[in-house]
């Protein structure tokens, strides 16, 4: 009835959490979110999350960096102000290319890494001074929290959670502005 009603189940072990998540999903309950102090291998698959597309973006960002480095070095070293370094003033990008390979590599990595981090922040809606959404500070230490939507199935869900090894189960009313 009330979709703002959720249950917070607390776990103290990542393996227990992983099997609990699998079981909860098997019983067709909807898991809103899982809060963990560290990334858990295989949790994304157990939760049925879509595969991340950040690797595709990383490749594209890398290609952009690669292109930028080529244009940049061509402008700096060939067109604008050709320099005689090591007796190689050939005025040709291609002939001086081996000297630019380290720069091409670095720019590729630089673009891929920084743009990936920025993309991640934007997608996760993170910015400086943002209030933490974390419902329980213990999940920044050594506990794991699963947030499950409630649909008139409180009793059954609670007994299920108890069976999966939750150490604490709580009803929580989610505020609207938390969304």
């Amino acid at each position: 009835m009330n979709s703002n009603q959720v249950i917070h189940a607390l776990y103290d072990d990542d393996d227990v959490l992983l099997s609990a998540v699998k079981l909860i999903r098997e019983k067709k309950h909807h898991i809103e979110e899982v809060y963990t102090p560290f990334p858990i291998h295989g949790l994304d698959k157990a939760l049925g999350l879509d595969e991340t597309r950040i690797s595709i973006m990383a490749f594209i960002y890398g290609c952009i960096g690669f292109l930028v480095s080529i244009l940049m070095m061509n402008y700096i070293m060939i067109e604008d102000w050709p320099q005689n370094i090591g007796g190689k003033p050939s005025f040709s990008y291609l002939e001086n290319m081996p000297a630019f390979v380290p720069i091409m590599f670095e720019m590729t990595v630089f673009f891929a890494a920084h743009l990936m981090v920025i993309t991640f922040y934007l997608r996760s809606k993170l910015w400086p001074f943002k209030q933490a959404e974390n419902p329980n500070p213990l999940t920044t230490d050594d506990k794991f929290l699963v947030e499950i939507e409630l649909h008139n199935d409180e009793k059954e869900l609670k007994s299920l959670l108890k069976k999966t090894g939750a150490i604490d189960i709580k009803n929580v009313e989610k505020k609207e502005d938390d969304e």
């Binding site: 090591g86 007796g87 190689k88 081996p98 000297a99 390979v101």
Partner: protein
């Protein structure tokens, strides 16, 4: 237990026969004297055009003072310009030079292929020893495949050794420093005689091969004994000898690459050559493991090997290909940038006379695996691993080709019957020995203490 099928046996033997015919053709058509050599190149119109371009290209870098200490005797490639300049009064000299290049051709074809397949086995042995020493949990399911491939090491290395002995007996001119006539006129080589002399060279070769084969013998023995054992003492022994072997290996591998490859061009040297050859053999070894594993799996063996094992081998193929490129480029850029005549001549011959194999190899060994194997999912698809693997193996064959041919045959190279024959012959021999070795023991190393972890391994 794998059964070495008659079909595969026939296939490998027919490869050997075809390869043998190709090699024989190469040896029979090699010229016997200067006139024949001159006729052959006149027919082909191949050497002429190349020779001219080269003379121009090097004329300014190699001035007369080079002649004093660089003999233009059998030396290939770079100091050819010197002989081209003096061709008017030294026509015979150049003719003899050409003759030696053409006579070297079938030998070099034989040597490149023999070395390449020995290198695969040696790279696999290093990979195996690293897994043993690191007590890797993922790989025990593949140990028997690796042990099968390293079974080729001893025969393969002995064949290379025989070729080296024949060179020492002056049956060919692959290693010009073995010729006392050359050494007498060459100040640079004279200074290296303490290291580059035939008895020392062969003695070192025996030490390398002996050390590798001894490790491989005991490691295989302990590995098989572990299958029946009740405790893990064999596993522990294997761990210890593997760690020791890796120390021995990295020293001998490096020296082997100076001896067997770099000394073909005795004036030139590179300080990271050992690493460079190592990267080449390591990626070839991992690729061979992946290809043979996929083959055996397609025949219904190795049921414990899953996608994740192939995925990990794919990661190694990808990573070590990039590592190889890093070393290749480190070697190339420093020499290209400093532009010191004695050093840069190595790359000038390769870029001018070997343009296609030199840059083609970069595409095959770097760009192709980089793009194909970058995606995580593709590393789990056998088709992609096989495709990338074949290109990587051929690319590293060309890599060895580029290391040996320019100094042995100069601009007279050609991937013809002898070269393809050499490759096919050793491919057949490799398949025959490797699958014979695999069929000797159960494919499942049941006693390995990490076997359970390897079976459950998933990414």
């Amino acid at each position: 237990m794998y059964y070495f099928t008659n079909k595969l046996k026939t296939f490998s033997i027919s490869l050997m026969v075809v390869g043998f015919l190709g090699l024989t053709y190469g040896f029979l058509t090699a010229p016997d004297n200067v006139e024949e050599a001159a006729m052959m190149t006149a027919d082909a119109h191949h050497g002429e055009s190349h020779g001219e371009g080269q003379g121009e290209g090097h004329g300014d870098t190699h001035t007369d003072h080079d002649k004093e200490y660089i003999s233009d005797f059998h030396e290939a490639g770079h100091n050819e310009s010197a002989s081209a300049q003096g061709a008017e009064h030294g026509g015979d000299h150049q003719g003899e030079h050409l003759l030696h290049q053409l006579q070297n051709k079938p030998w070099a074809a034989l040597y490149v292929a023999a070395f390449f397949f020995m290198m695969i086995a040696l790279g696999t042995l290093a990979f195996y020893a690293i897994n043993r020493a690191a007590q890797a949990g993922w790989s025990p399911a593949l140990y028997r495949v690796m042990e099968g491939i390293t079974g080729y090491l001893l025969p393969g290395a002995l064949i290379v050794f025989v070729i080296l002995v024949l060179s020492g007996m002056h049956l060919n001119h692959l290693f010009i420093w073995m010729d006392p006539e050359v050494v007498a006129h060459d100040k640079l080589i004279r200074g290296k005689v303490g290291f580059l002399n035939v008895p020392g060279f062969l003695f070192r070769a025996l030490i390398y091969i002996g050390g590798w084969a001894t490790y491989r013998y005991f490691s295989r023995k302990f590995s098989l004994a572990q299958d029946q054992a009740n405790d893990i003492s064999n596993h522990k022994k294997n761990f210890r000898i593997s760690a020791g072997f890796l120390v021995f290996f990295i020293v001998t591998e490096s020296m082997m690459s100076w001896d067997w490859v770099m000394s073909i061009d005795p004036h030139w040297f590179s300080t990271l050559f050992g690493w460079y050859v190592f990267a080449s053999m390591f990626v070839s070894g991992v690729t061979a493991i992946a290809l043979i594993t996929i083959y055996l799996k397609s025949k219904g063996y190795l049921e414990k090997v899953n996608d994740s094992h192939i995925h990990d081998l794919g990661k190694f193929m990808f990573g070590i290909s990039v590592f190889w490129t890093y070393l290749w480029f480190s070697q190339f850029m420093l020499i290209w940038y400093s532009n010191i005549p004695e050093e840069v001549t190595y790359f000038i011959t390769r870029i001018e006379d070997y343009n296609l194999p030199f840059f083609g190899m970069l595409v095959m060994n770097f760009i192709f695996p980089l793009l194909i194997l970058m995606n995580s999912d593709y590393k789990r698809i056998n088709y992609f691993i096989v495709m990338a693997g074949i290109v990587i193996l051929l690319g590293h064959y060309i890599d060895v080709f580029n290391m040996i041919m320019p100094s042995a045959v100069g601009d007279q190279w050609f991937i013809g019957l002898a070269e393809i024959g050499g490759f096919l012959f050793f491919l057949g021999l490799f398949i025959f020995i490797v699958f014979k070795e695999i069929s000797k023991a159960p494919l499942h190393a049941a006693g390995d203490p990490f076997m359970g972890e390897s079976e459950r391994f998933h990414y």
